[in-house]
Protein backbone atom coordinates (compact mmCIF):
# COMPACT_ATOMS: atom_id res chain seq x y z
CA UNK A 1 0.00 0.00 0.00
CA UNK A 2 1.70 3.16 -1.13
CA UNK A 3 1.58 6.11 1.23
CA UNK A 4 -1.15 8.35 -0.04
CA UNK A 5 -3.83 10.74 0.95
CA UNK A 6 -5.47 8.24 3.29
CA UNK A 7 -2.27 7.60 5.19
CA UNK A 8 -1.54 11.28 5.54
CA UNK A 9 -5.05 11.93 6.76
CA UNK A 10 -4.74 9.12 9.29
CA UNK A 11 -1.53 10.47 10.74
CA UNK A 12 -2.88 13.99 10.82
CA UNK A 13 -5.94 12.82 12.69
CA UNK A 14 -3.83 10.81 15.13
CA UNK A 15 -1.60 13.82 15.74
CA UNK A 16 -4.31 16.30 16.56
CA UNK A 17 -6.85 14.02 18.24
CA UNK A 18 -6.04 14.84 21.90
CA UNK A 19 -5.97 18.54 21.14
CA UNK A 20 -9.12 18.39 19.05
CA UNK A 21 -11.16 16.89 21.88
CA UNK A 22 -9.53 18.98 24.61
CA UNK A 23 -12.44 21.37 24.79
CA UNK A 24 -15.11 18.71 25.35
CA UNK A 25 -16.38 17.88 28.86
CA UNK A 26 -15.42 14.26 28.49
CA UNK A 27 -11.94 15.18 27.21
CA UNK A 28 -9.93 13.23 29.83
CA UNK A 29 -11.92 10.09 29.10
CA UNK A 30 -11.58 10.47 25.34
CA UNK A 31 -7.87 11.20 25.60
CA UNK A 32 -7.45 8.13 27.75
CA UNK A 33 -9.27 5.96 25.22
CA UNK A 34 -7.12 7.55 22.54
CA UNK A 35 -3.91 6.60 24.28
CA UNK A 36 -5.22 3.05 24.71
CA UNK A 37 -5.99 2.95 20.99
CA UNK A 38 -2.40 3.92 20.16
CA UNK A 39 -0.89 1.51 22.69
CA UNK A 40 -3.03 -1.39 21.47
CA UNK A 41 -2.03 -0.52 17.91
CA UNK A 42 1.65 -0.79 18.84
CA UNK A 43 1.38 -4.29 20.22
CA UNK A 44 -0.91 -5.38 17.39
CA UNK A 45 1.57 -4.03 14.83
CA UNK A 46 4.34 -5.86 16.64
CA UNK A 47 2.40 -9.13 16.54
CA UNK A 48 1.68 -8.48 12.90
CA UNK A 49 5.36 -8.79 11.99
CA UNK A 50 5.50 -12.47 12.94
CA UNK A 51 1.83 -13.41 12.74
CA UNK A 52 0.77 -11.39 9.73
CA UNK A 53 3.80 -10.92 7.51
CA UNK A 54 5.66 -14.11 8.31
CA UNK A 55 2.51 -16.14 8.82
CA UNK A 56 3.81 -17.80 12.00
CA UNK A 57 0.88 -17.61 14.34
CA UNK A 58 1.89 -16.78 17.87
CA UNK A 59 -0.97 -17.28 20.30
CA UNK A 60 1.13 -16.49 23.35
CA UNK A 61 2.55 -13.08 22.55
CA UNK A 62 1.71 -11.99 26.07
CA UNK A 63 5.13 -13.48 26.90
CA UNK A 64 6.86 -10.49 25.36
CA UNK A 65 4.34 -7.92 26.47
CA UNK A 66 4.51 -9.10 30.06
CA UNK A 67 8.29 -9.26 29.96
CA UNK A 68 8.46 -5.61 29.00
CA UNK A 69 5.93 -4.61 31.62
CA UNK A 70 7.50 -6.61 34.42
CA UNK A 71 11.06 -5.60 33.67
CA UNK A 72 10.17 -1.94 33.71
CA UNK A 73 8.43 -2.10 37.04
CA UNK A 74 10.97 -4.52 38.48
CA UNK A 75 13.86 -2.09 38.02
CA UNK A 76 11.81 0.35 40.03
CA UNK A 77 10.71 -2.17 42.62
CA UNK A 78 14.18 -3.62 43.13
CA UNK A 79 16.56 -0.74 42.49
CA UNK A 80 14.33 2.31 42.59
CA UNK A 81 15.30 3.20 39.04
CA UNK A 82 12.83 5.00 36.79
CA UNK A 83 10.74 2.38 34.98
CA UNK A 84 11.86 3.61 31.59
CA UNK A 85 15.34 2.29 32.43
CA UNK A 86 13.82 -1.18 32.37
CA UNK A 87 12.91 -0.92 28.68
CA UNK A 88 16.25 -2.17 27.31
CA UNK A 89 16.17 -4.96 29.86
CA UNK A 90 12.68 -5.93 28.83
CA UNK A 91 13.65 -5.90 25.17
CA UNK A 92 16.72 -8.02 25.82
CA UNK A 93 14.75 -10.55 27.85
CA UNK A 94 12.03 -10.68 25.20
CA UNK A 95 14.52 -11.27 22.40
CA UNK A 96 16.12 -14.06 24.42
CA UNK A 97 12.75 -15.69 24.97
CA UNK A 98 12.07 -15.35 21.25
CA UNK A 99 15.24 -17.30 20.55
CA UNK A 100 14.34 -19.91 23.14
CA UNK A 101 10.96 -20.51 21.52
CA UNK A 102 11.83 -20.00 17.87
CA UNK A 103 15.14 -21.81 17.56
CA UNK A 104 13.76 -25.31 18.13
CA UNK A 105 10.31 -24.80 16.61
CA UNK A 106 11.15 -22.96 13.41
CA UNK A 107 12.77 -26.04 11.96
CA UNK A 108 9.52 -27.94 12.50
CA UNK A 109 6.07 -27.55 11.02
CA UNK A 110 4.12 -24.45 12.01
CA UNK A 111 1.88 -25.98 14.69
CA UNK A 112 4.81 -26.59 17.02
CA UNK A 113 5.56 -22.89 17.16
CA UNK A 114 1.95 -22.00 17.97
CA UNK A 115 1.68 -24.65 20.66
CA UNK A 116 5.01 -23.58 22.12
CA UNK A 117 3.89 -19.95 22.41
CA UNK A 118 0.86 -20.87 24.51
CA UNK A 119 2.85 -23.28 26.65
CA UNK A 120 5.67 -20.83 27.34
CA UNK A 121 3.18 -18.06 28.05
CA UNK A 122 1.53 -20.18 30.70
CA UNK A 123 4.88 -21.35 31.99
CA UNK A 124 6.05 -17.81 32.54
CA UNK A 125 2.74 -16.65 33.94
CA UNK A 126 2.73 -19.43 36.52
CA UNK A 127 6.42 -18.93 37.35
CA UNK A 128 6.10 -15.20 37.82
CA UNK A 129 2.88 -15.69 39.72
CA UNK A 130 4.72 -17.75 42.30
CA UNK A 131 7.91 -15.73 42.45
CA UNK A 132 8.16 -13.17 45.20
CA UNK A 133 10.85 -11.29 43.36
CA UNK A 134 8.19 -10.26 40.88
CA UNK A 135 5.43 -9.78 43.38
CA UNK A 136 3.95 -13.26 42.98
CA UNK A 137 0.18 -13.10 42.51
CA UNK A 138 -0.05 -9.50 43.57
CA UNK A 139 2.29 -8.04 41.01
CA UNK A 140 4.52 -5.00 41.00
CA UNK A 141 3.69 -1.37 41.41
CA UNK A 142 5.38 1.58 39.83
CA UNK A 143 6.24 4.87 41.47
CA UNK A 144 3.24 6.41 43.20
CA UNK A 145 4.43 9.97 42.71
CA UNK A 146 6.99 11.22 40.24
CA UNK A 147 10.42 11.67 41.75
CA UNK A 148 11.82 13.26 38.63
CA UNK A 149 10.89 13.87 35.02
CA UNK A 150 12.35 10.48 34.15
CA UNK A 151 9.65 8.62 36.03
CA UNK A 152 7.22 9.68 33.32
CA UNK A 153 4.27 9.88 35.68
CA UNK A 154 1.57 12.16 34.42
CA UNK A 155 -1.95 12.74 35.59
CA UNK A 156 -3.22 13.40 32.10
CA UNK A 157 -3.30 10.78 29.38
CA UNK A 158 -2.03 13.25 26.79
CA UNK A 159 1.74 12.90 27.33
CA UNK A 160 1.36 9.12 27.23
CA UNK A 161 -0.62 9.50 24.04
CA UNK A 162 2.21 11.29 22.30
CA UNK A 163 4.95 9.06 23.64
CA UNK A 164 3.00 6.06 22.40
CA UNK A 165 2.31 7.74 19.07
CA UNK A 166 6.03 8.27 18.59
CA UNK A 167 6.70 4.60 19.23
CA UNK A 168 3.86 3.63 16.88
CA UNK A 169 5.42 5.74 14.16
CA UNK A 170 8.72 3.94 14.76
CA UNK A 171 7.10 0.50 14.56
CA UNK A 172 5.23 1.35 11.38
CA UNK A 173 8.27 2.92 9.77
CA UNK A 174 10.38 -0.13 10.63
CA UNK A 175 7.73 -2.50 9.33
CA UNK A 176 7.35 -0.52 6.11
CA UNK A 177 11.07 -0.41 5.53
CA UNK A 178 11.41 -4.09 6.25
CA UNK A 179 8.45 -5.03 4.07
CA UNK A 180 9.80 -3.25 1.02
CA UNK A 181 13.20 -4.88 1.07
CA UNK A 182 14.59 -8.36 0.77
CA UNK A 183 13.58 -9.34 4.29
CA UNK A 184 9.96 -8.47 3.65
CA UNK A 185 9.87 -10.38 0.38
CA UNK A 186 11.36 -13.40 2.12
CA UNK A 187 8.74 -13.18 4.88
CA UNK A 188 5.90 -13.15 2.40
CA UNK A 189 7.44 -16.00 0.44
CA UNK A 190 7.72 -18.07 3.61
CA UNK A 191 4.13 -17.34 4.49
CA UNK A 192 3.05 -18.35 1.01
CA UNK A 193 5.02 -21.54 0.43
CA UNK A 194 7.93 -22.41 2.64
CA UNK A 195 9.21 -25.25 0.52
CA UNK A 196 9.35 -23.09 -2.61
CA UNK A 197 11.04 -20.32 -0.64
CA UNK A 198 13.70 -22.72 0.54
CA UNK A 199 14.34 -23.87 -3.01
CA UNK A 200 15.15 -20.27 -3.92
CA UNK A 201 17.79 -19.96 -1.24
CA UNK A 202 15.67 -18.23 1.40
CA UNK A 203 17.22 -19.03 4.82
CA UNK A 204 13.82 -19.82 6.26
CA UNK A 205 14.68 -20.54 9.85
CA UNK A 206 16.93 -17.50 10.18
CA UNK A 207 14.36 -15.15 8.64
CA UNK A 208 11.61 -16.44 10.93
CA UNK A 209 13.85 -16.02 13.97
CA UNK A 210 14.73 -12.46 13.05
CA UNK A 211 11.09 -11.61 12.51
CA UNK A 212 10.15 -13.11 15.87
CA UNK A 213 12.95 -11.26 17.63
CA UNK A 214 11.90 -7.97 16.08
CA UNK A 215 8.28 -8.62 16.96
CA UNK A 216 9.23 -9.59 20.50
CA UNK A 217 11.29 -6.44 20.96
CA UNK A 218 8.49 -4.12 19.88
CA UNK A 219 5.94 -6.03 21.95
CA UNK A 220 8.16 -5.67 25.00
CA UNK A 221 8.31 -1.92 24.45
CA UNK A 222 4.52 -1.88 24.27
CA UNK A 223 4.42 -3.75 27.56
CA UNK A 224 6.75 -1.23 29.14
CA UNK A 225 4.63 1.66 27.88
CA UNK A 226 1.59 -0.02 29.36
CA UNK A 227 3.33 -0.43 32.71
CA UNK A 228 4.41 3.19 32.61
CA UNK A 229 0.91 4.44 32.10
CA UNK A 230 -1.03 2.08 34.33
CA UNK A 231 1.68 1.98 36.98
CA UNK A 232 1.02 -1.60 37.87
CA UNK A 233 1.27 -5.13 36.48
CA UNK A 234 0.25 -8.57 37.71
CA UNK A 235 0.36 -12.03 36.11
CA UNK A 236 -3.10 -11.63 34.65
CA UNK A 237 -2.78 -8.15 33.21
CA UNK A 238 0.72 -8.67 31.87
CA UNK A 239 0.91 -12.32 30.94
CA UNK A 240 -2.64 -13.57 30.67
CA UNK A 241 -4.09 -15.10 27.55
CA UNK A 242 -6.40 -12.17 27.02
CA UNK A 243 -3.38 -9.99 26.34
CA UNK A 244 -2.47 -12.32 23.48
CA UNK A 245 -6.06 -12.43 22.26
CA UNK A 246 -6.25 -8.64 22.12
CA UNK A 247 -3.17 -8.45 19.90
CA UNK A 248 -4.40 -11.15 17.58
CA UNK A 249 -7.90 -9.89 17.08
CA UNK A 250 -6.78 -6.30 16.67
CA UNK A 251 -4.32 -7.19 13.94
CA UNK A 252 -6.52 -9.80 12.27
CA UNK A 253 -9.67 -7.70 12.20
CA UNK A 254 -7.96 -4.80 10.51
CA UNK A 255 -5.84 -6.95 8.28
CA UNK A 256 -2.97 -9.21 9.25
CA UNK A 257 -0.01 -8.80 6.95
CA UNK A 258 -0.88 -5.24 5.98
CA UNK A 259 0.88 -2.16 7.26
CA UNK A 260 -2.09 -0.31 8.74
CA UNK A 261 -4.45 -3.20 9.40
CA UNK A 262 -3.60 -3.37 13.10
CA UNK A 263 -4.08 0.37 13.45
CA UNK A 264 -7.50 0.12 11.85
CA UNK A 265 -8.35 -2.80 14.11
CA UNK A 266 -7.39 -0.83 17.17
CA UNK A 267 -9.39 2.23 16.14
CA UNK A 268 -12.46 0.02 15.79
CA UNK A 269 -12.11 -2.33 18.75
CA UNK A 270 -10.76 -0.23 21.59
CA UNK A 271 -13.58 2.34 21.65
CA UNK A 272 -16.12 -0.48 21.33
CA UNK A 273 -14.56 -2.33 24.22
CA UNK A 274 -14.46 0.83 26.26
CA UNK A 275 -18.11 1.51 25.53
CA UNK A 276 -19.19 -2.01 26.40
CA UNK A 277 -17.25 -1.81 29.66
CA UNK A 278 -19.04 1.37 30.67
CA UNK A 279 -22.50 0.17 29.69
CA UNK A 280 -22.34 -3.44 30.79
CA UNK A 281 -19.93 -3.07 33.68
CA UNK A 282 -17.96 -6.10 34.84
CA UNK A 283 -20.22 -8.59 33.11
CA UNK A 284 -19.42 -6.85 29.88
CA UNK A 285 -15.95 -8.29 29.65
CA UNK A 286 -17.27 -11.83 29.65
CA UNK A 287 -19.51 -11.03 26.73
CA UNK A 288 -16.68 -9.19 25.01
CA UNK A 289 -14.63 -12.34 24.81
CA UNK A 290 -17.54 -14.40 23.58
CA UNK A 291 -17.86 -11.81 20.84
CA UNK A 292 -14.12 -11.82 20.17
CA UNK A 293 -14.17 -15.58 19.80
CA UNK A 294 -16.99 -15.29 17.32
CA UNK A 295 -15.29 -12.53 15.35
CA UNK A 296 -12.03 -14.46 15.14
CA UNK A 297 -13.89 -17.52 13.88
CA UNK A 298 -15.75 -15.50 11.27
CA UNK A 299 -12.54 -13.84 10.12
CA UNK A 300 -10.85 -17.21 9.79
CA UNK A 301 -13.78 -18.69 7.92
CA UNK A 302 -14.66 -15.86 5.57
CA UNK A 303 -11.97 -13.21 5.39
CA UNK A 304 -8.62 -14.07 6.91
CA UNK A 305 -7.21 -10.96 5.33
CA UNK A 306 -9.36 -8.81 7.58
CA UNK A 307 -11.24 -5.63 6.81
CA UNK A 308 -8.57 -4.15 4.56
CA UNK A 309 -8.68 -7.23 2.35
CA UNK A 310 -12.45 -7.14 2.41
CA UNK A 311 -12.30 -3.51 1.32
CA UNK A 312 -9.79 -4.23 -1.42
CA UNK A 313 -11.98 -6.97 -2.82
CA UNK A 314 -15.14 -5.01 -2.32
CA UNK A 315 -14.06 -1.87 -4.11
CA UNK A 316 -13.45 -3.38 -7.57
CA UNK A 317 -16.67 -5.35 -7.18
CA UNK A 318 -18.54 -2.19 -6.33
CA UNK A 319 -16.95 -0.36 -9.22
CA UNK A 320 -18.03 -3.12 -11.58
CA UNK A 321 -21.57 -2.94 -10.31
CA UNK A 322 -21.63 0.82 -10.72
CA UNK A 323 -20.33 0.52 -14.26
CA UNK A 324 -23.52 -1.31 -15.09
CA UNK A 325 -22.56 -4.91 -14.57
CA UNK A 326 -20.03 -5.19 -17.35
CA UNK A 327 -17.67 -8.09 -16.68
CA UNK A 328 -14.22 -6.75 -15.88
CA UNK A 329 -10.99 -8.65 -16.43
CA UNK A 330 -9.56 -10.43 -13.43
CA UNK A 331 -6.78 -8.45 -11.79
Amino acid sequence: MKPGLGTAALWAALLIFPLAVAGLPSAPFLQDVGSTVVLTAISACAWNIIGGYAGQVSVGHSIFFGTGAYMSLAVFGLWQLPPVAGVPLGVAAAVLLALLIGAPTFRLQGHYFSMATIAVAELIRLTVGNWDLFGAAIGIQGPATPRSGWDLIYRSAVPYYYIDLGVLALVIATTAWMAGGRFGFYLRAIRSDERAARSLGVPVRRVKLLALMLSAAFTAVAGSLYALKVGFVNPESGLGILVSVQMIITAALGGAGTLYGPVLGSIILVPLQSASNSWLGGGGSGLTYILYGGIIMLLARFEPGGLLQFWRRGVPWLRRRLRGGRAADAA
Binding site: G51, V57, L100, N130, I248, A300, P304
Partner: protein, 286 residues
Protein backbone atom coordinates in the same frame (compact mmCIF):
# COMPACT_ATOMS: atom_id res chain seq x y z
CA UNK B 1 4.27 -45.50 50.27
CA UNK B 2 2.75 -42.12 49.70
CA UNK B 3 5.01 -41.69 46.71
CA UNK B 4 3.56 -44.84 45.24
CA UNK B 5 0.11 -43.49 46.00
CA UNK B 6 0.91 -40.35 44.07
CA UNK B 7 2.30 -42.37 41.19
CA UNK B 8 -0.81 -44.53 40.95
CA UNK B 9 -3.02 -41.46 41.08
CA UNK B 10 -0.93 -39.92 38.34
CA UNK B 11 -1.17 -42.97 36.13
CA UNK B 12 -4.92 -43.09 36.50
CA UNK B 13 -5.24 -39.46 35.50
CA UNK B 14 -2.67 -40.13 32.82
CA UNK B 15 -5.02 -42.68 31.31
CA UNK B 16 -7.60 -39.95 30.87
CA UNK B 17 -4.94 -37.68 29.35
CA UNK B 18 -4.08 -40.51 26.99
CA UNK B 19 -7.72 -40.78 25.95
CA UNK B 20 -8.30 -37.21 24.97
CA UNK B 21 -4.86 -36.82 23.49
CA UNK B 22 -5.40 -39.70 21.08
CA UNK B 23 -8.30 -37.68 19.72
CA UNK B 24 -6.08 -34.66 19.14
CA UNK B 25 -3.27 -36.60 17.52
CA UNK B 26 -5.72 -38.45 15.28
CA UNK B 27 -6.76 -35.18 13.67
CA UNK B 28 -3.20 -33.94 13.55
CA UNK B 29 -1.92 -36.99 11.78
CA UNK B 30 -4.88 -37.26 9.46
CA UNK B 31 -5.42 -33.68 8.42
CA UNK B 32 -2.29 -31.88 9.58
CA UNK B 33 -4.51 -29.75 11.78
CA UNK B 34 -4.23 -28.90 15.46
CA UNK B 35 -7.52 -28.25 17.20
CA UNK B 36 -6.90 -25.39 19.61
CA UNK B 37 -10.38 -25.90 21.05
CA UNK B 38 -9.70 -29.50 22.07
CA UNK B 39 -9.37 -28.55 25.72
CA UNK B 40 -12.77 -26.92 25.56
CA UNK B 41 -14.23 -30.13 24.13
CA UNK B 42 -12.99 -31.91 27.25
CA UNK B 43 -14.52 -29.20 29.40
CA UNK B 44 -17.82 -29.46 27.57
CA UNK B 45 -17.78 -33.19 28.17
CA UNK B 46 -17.67 -32.46 31.87
CA UNK B 47 -20.64 -30.15 31.63
CA UNK B 48 -22.51 -32.53 29.38
CA UNK B 49 -22.12 -35.12 32.11
CA UNK B 50 -23.39 -32.59 34.63
CA UNK B 51 -26.45 -31.82 32.55
CA UNK B 52 -27.04 -35.52 32.03
CA UNK B 53 -27.08 -36.15 35.76
CA UNK B 54 -29.47 -33.22 36.22
CA UNK B 55 -31.64 -34.87 33.61
CA UNK B 56 -31.68 -37.94 35.79
CA UNK B 57 -29.24 -40.16 33.94
CA UNK B 58 -27.24 -42.56 36.04
CA UNK B 59 -23.49 -43.00 36.08
CA UNK B 60 -23.46 -45.65 33.40
CA UNK B 61 -25.34 -43.46 30.96
CA UNK B 62 -23.93 -39.98 31.27
CA UNK B 63 -20.47 -40.84 30.00
CA UNK B 64 -21.68 -42.29 26.71
CA UNK B 65 -24.22 -39.48 26.51
CA UNK B 66 -21.45 -36.89 26.82
CA UNK B 67 -19.40 -38.74 24.23
CA UNK B 68 -22.33 -38.80 21.82
CA UNK B 69 -23.08 -35.12 22.34
CA UNK B 70 -19.48 -34.17 21.69
CA UNK B 71 -19.32 -36.47 18.66
CA UNK B 72 -22.12 -34.45 17.14
CA UNK B 73 -20.42 -31.19 18.03
CA UNK B 74 -17.19 -32.39 16.42
CA UNK B 75 -18.94 -33.30 13.18
CA UNK B 76 -20.81 -30.00 13.12
CA UNK B 77 -17.61 -28.04 13.71
CA UNK B 78 -16.01 -29.94 10.84
CA UNK B 79 -18.74 -29.18 8.34
CA UNK B 80 -19.33 -25.59 9.42
CA UNK B 81 -15.78 -24.47 9.92
CA UNK B 82 -12.86 -26.84 9.49
CA UNK B 83 -13.71 -28.08 6.03
CA UNK B 84 -13.50 -24.54 4.73
CA UNK B 85 -10.31 -23.40 6.39
CA UNK B 86 -8.34 -26.58 5.92
CA UNK B 87 -6.89 -25.73 2.60
CA UNK B 88 -6.38 -22.06 3.36
CA UNK B 89 -3.58 -20.07 4.97
CA UNK B 90 -2.12 -21.20 8.30
CA UNK B 91 -3.40 -18.07 10.00
CA UNK B 92 -7.00 -18.97 9.15
CA UNK B 93 -6.52 -22.56 10.27
CA UNK B 94 -5.11 -21.70 13.66
CA UNK B 95 -7.43 -18.78 14.32
CA UNK B 96 -10.49 -20.85 13.45
CA UNK B 97 -10.21 -23.22 16.39
CA UNK B 98 -8.58 -20.63 18.61
CA UNK B 99 -11.63 -18.43 18.15
CA UNK B 100 -13.87 -21.42 18.77
CA UNK B 101 -12.02 -22.10 22.02
CA UNK B 102 -12.63 -18.55 23.21
CA UNK B 103 -16.26 -18.72 22.21
CA UNK B 104 -16.85 -22.01 24.02
CA UNK B 105 -14.89 -21.03 27.10
CA UNK B 106 -16.50 -17.65 27.68
CA UNK B 107 -19.96 -18.85 26.80
CA UNK B 108 -19.59 -21.59 29.37
CA UNK B 109 -18.30 -19.07 31.89
CA UNK B 110 -21.28 -16.90 31.18
CA UNK B 111 -23.74 -19.74 31.62
CA UNK B 112 -22.14 -21.75 34.40
CA UNK B 113 -20.02 -19.11 36.14
CA UNK B 114 -16.50 -19.87 37.26
CA UNK B 115 -17.23 -21.90 40.39
CA UNK B 116 -15.79 -25.34 40.57
CA UNK B 117 -18.35 -28.09 40.73
CA UNK B 118 -18.47 -31.81 41.13
CA UNK B 119 -20.99 -34.35 40.01
CA UNK B 120 -23.55 -35.29 42.65
CA UNK B 121 -22.51 -38.17 44.84
CA UNK B 122 -23.30 -41.52 43.43
CA UNK B 123 -22.31 -45.14 43.75
CA UNK B 124 -18.90 -44.07 42.55
CA UNK B 125 -17.82 -42.30 45.70
CA UNK B 126 -15.51 -43.74 48.30
CA UNK B 127 -12.12 -45.32 48.18
CA UNK B 128 -10.93 -48.82 47.57
CA UNK B 129 -8.14 -50.39 49.55
CA UNK B 130 -6.00 -52.36 47.20
CA UNK B 131 -2.43 -53.64 47.66
CA UNK B 132 -1.91 -51.34 50.61
CA UNK B 133 -2.93 -48.28 48.66
CA UNK B 134 -6.05 -46.18 48.91
CA UNK B 135 -7.49 -45.40 45.52
CA UNK B 136 -10.59 -43.30 44.95
CA UNK B 137 -13.15 -45.52 43.30
CA UNK B 138 -14.09 -42.80 40.89
CA UNK B 139 -10.48 -42.22 39.84
CA UNK B 140 -9.94 -45.93 39.33
CA UNK B 141 -13.03 -46.19 37.18
CA UNK B 142 -12.15 -43.11 35.17
CA UNK B 143 -8.62 -44.35 34.54
CA UNK B 144 -9.66 -47.86 33.65
CA UNK B 145 -12.43 -46.78 31.31
CA UNK B 146 -10.15 -44.24 29.63
CA UNK B 147 -7.44 -46.82 29.05
CA UNK B 148 -9.90 -49.25 27.52
CA UNK B 149 -11.42 -46.70 25.17
CA UNK B 150 -8.04 -45.35 24.09
CA UNK B 151 -6.94 -48.88 23.29
CA UNK B 152 -10.20 -49.37 21.46
CA UNK B 153 -9.49 -46.35 19.31
CA UNK B 154 -6.12 -47.74 18.39
CA UNK B 155 -7.71 -51.05 17.45
CA UNK B 156 -10.38 -49.25 15.45
CA UNK B 157 -7.79 -47.37 13.46
CA UNK B 158 -5.40 -50.21 12.79
CA UNK B 159 -7.59 -53.28 12.55
CA UNK B 160 -10.92 -52.33 11.07
CA UNK B 161 -12.01 -51.46 7.57
CA UNK B 162 -13.24 -48.11 8.79
CA UNK B 163 -9.90 -47.37 10.34
CA UNK B 164 -7.96 -48.19 7.22
CA UNK B 165 -10.28 -46.00 5.17
CA UNK B 166 -9.57 -43.13 7.53
CA UNK B 167 -5.86 -43.74 7.35
CA UNK B 168 -6.05 -43.91 3.55
CA UNK B 169 -7.46 -40.39 3.49
CA UNK B 170 -4.64 -39.26 5.72
CA UNK B 171 -2.09 -40.90 3.47
CA UNK B 172 -3.27 -39.57 0.15
CA UNK B 173 -6.56 -37.80 -0.24
CA UNK B 174 -6.82 -38.01 -4.04
CA UNK B 175 -5.85 -41.66 -4.13
CA UNK B 176 -8.44 -42.39 -1.47
CA UNK B 177 -11.08 -40.65 -3.57
CA UNK B 178 -10.16 -42.77 -6.55
CA UNK B 179 -10.70 -45.82 -4.37
CA UNK B 180 -14.24 -44.72 -3.68
CA UNK B 181 -13.61 -43.43 -0.18
CA UNK B 182 -15.29 -40.13 0.63
CA UNK B 183 -12.63 -37.95 2.28
CA UNK B 184 -15.18 -35.51 3.62
CA UNK B 185 -17.07 -38.20 5.43
CA UNK B 186 -13.92 -39.78 6.85
CA UNK B 187 -12.65 -36.43 8.07
CA UNK B 188 -15.97 -35.54 9.66
CA UNK B 189 -15.93 -38.94 11.30
CA UNK B 190 -12.43 -38.30 12.59
CA UNK B 191 -13.55 -34.99 14.05
CA UNK B 192 -16.52 -36.63 15.65
CA UNK B 193 -14.34 -39.35 17.16
CA UNK B 194 -11.79 -36.82 18.31
CA UNK B 195 -14.40 -34.68 20.02
CA UNK B 196 -16.08 -37.76 21.46
CA UNK B 197 -12.81 -38.93 22.98
CA UNK B 198 -12.43 -35.52 24.56
CA UNK B 199 -16.02 -35.49 25.77
CA UNK B 200 -15.79 -38.95 27.22
CA UNK B 201 -12.54 -38.07 28.96
CA UNK B 202 -14.21 -35.01 30.40
CA UNK B 203 -17.21 -36.98 31.60
CA UNK B 204 -14.97 -39.56 33.24
CA UNK B 205 -12.93 -36.85 34.94
CA UNK B 206 -16.07 -35.11 36.15
CA UNK B 207 -16.81 -38.22 38.16
CA UNK B 208 -13.57 -37.97 40.09
CA UNK B 209 -12.31 -34.38 39.98
CA UNK B 210 -13.90 -30.92 40.39
CA UNK B 211 -14.30 -28.84 37.26
CA UNK B 212 -14.99 -25.33 35.98
CA UNK B 213 -15.18 -23.68 32.54
CA UNK B 214 -11.62 -22.43 32.86
CA UNK B 215 -10.03 -25.88 32.92
CA UNK B 216 -10.19 -26.17 29.14
CA UNK B 217 -7.07 -24.12 28.68
CA UNK B 218 -5.03 -26.39 30.95
CA UNK B 219 -6.31 -29.54 29.23
CA UNK B 220 -5.47 -28.11 25.83
CA UNK B 221 -1.91 -27.50 26.94
CA UNK B 222 -1.72 -30.96 28.48
CA UNK B 223 -2.91 -32.39 25.18
CA UNK B 224 -0.28 -30.41 23.26
CA UNK B 225 2.48 -31.70 25.49
CA UNK B 226 1.22 -35.26 25.23
CA UNK B 227 0.85 -35.30 21.45
CA UNK B 228 4.24 -33.68 20.96
CA UNK B 229 5.89 -36.13 23.32
CA UNK B 230 4.01 -38.98 21.72
CA UNK B 231 4.94 -37.96 18.22
CA UNK B 232 3.17 -36.43 15.25
CA UNK B 233 0.00 -38.37 14.53
CA UNK B 234 0.92 -41.39 16.61
CA UNK B 235 -1.99 -42.81 18.59
CA UNK B 236 0.14 -45.36 20.47
CA UNK B 237 2.63 -42.58 21.15
CA UNK B 238 -0.09 -40.37 22.61
CA UNK B 239 -1.23 -43.21 24.81
CA UNK B 240 2.21 -43.83 26.27
CA UNK B 241 2.92 -40.13 26.59
CA UNK B 242 -0.41 -39.58 28.33
CA UNK B 243 0.51 -42.01 31.08
CA UNK B 244 3.97 -40.48 31.33
CA UNK B 245 2.71 -36.94 31.68
CA UNK B 246 0.15 -37.98 34.26
CA UNK B 247 2.92 -39.64 36.20
CA UNK B 248 5.33 -36.72 35.89
CA UNK B 249 2.64 -34.30 36.97
CA UNK B 250 1.71 -36.31 40.04
CA UNK B 251 5.32 -36.83 41.07
CA UNK B 252 6.11 -33.16 40.56
CA UNK B 253 3.12 -32.21 42.69
CA UNK B 254 4.21 -34.62 45.39
CA UNK B 255 7.94 -33.87 45.35
CA UNK B 256 8.03 -30.14 44.64
CA UNK B 257 4.54 -28.87 45.34
CA UNK B 258 1.12 -28.81 43.67
CA UNK B 259 1.63 -25.26 42.52
CA UNK B 260 4.59 -26.28 40.37
CA UNK B 261 3.18 -29.33 38.62
CA UNK B 262 2.08 -27.44 35.55
CA UNK B 263 5.37 -25.54 35.40
CA UNK B 264 7.28 -28.82 35.32
CA UNK B 265 5.10 -30.23 32.56
CA UNK B 266 5.44 -27.12 30.37
CA UNK B 267 9.16 -26.98 30.97
CA UNK B 268 9.30 -30.62 29.88
CA UNK B 269 7.45 -29.60 26.73
CA UNK B 270 10.08 -27.01 25.87
CA UNK B 271 12.80 -29.56 26.57
CA UNK B 272 11.18 -32.08 24.22
CA UNK B 273 11.01 -29.44 21.48
CA UNK B 274 14.71 -28.76 21.87
CA UNK B 275 15.96 -32.28 22.29
CA UNK B 276 13.59 -34.67 20.53
CA UNK B 277 10.77 -32.92 18.68
CA UNK B 278 9.64 -36.04 16.88
CA UNK B 279 8.68 -37.39 20.28
CA UNK B 280 8.70 -41.02 21.27
CA UNK B 281 7.06 -42.66 18.29
CA UNK B 282 6.75 -39.88 15.76
CA UNK B 283 8.09 -40.33 12.25
CA UNK B 284 8.61 -36.75 11.31
CA UNK B 285 8.15 -33.32 12.77
CA UNK B 286 8.79 -31.20 9.68
Amino acid sequence: MILLQAAVSGLLLGAVYALFSTGLTLIWGMMNFINFAHGEFVMLGMYAALLATWAGLGPAAFAPAAAAALFLLGAVVYFALIKHVMRGPMLAQILSTFGLALLLRYSSLFIFKSDFRTLPDSALSGTIHVLGLYVARAQLLAGAAAAVVALGMHVLLTRTGLGSRMLAVAEDRSAAMLMGIRPDRMQALAWGLSAASAGLAGALMAVAYPFSPVVGETFALTAFVVVTLGGFGSVPGAMIAGFLIGLVEALAAYLIGPVYKDIVVYALFVAVLWVRPQGLLGARAR
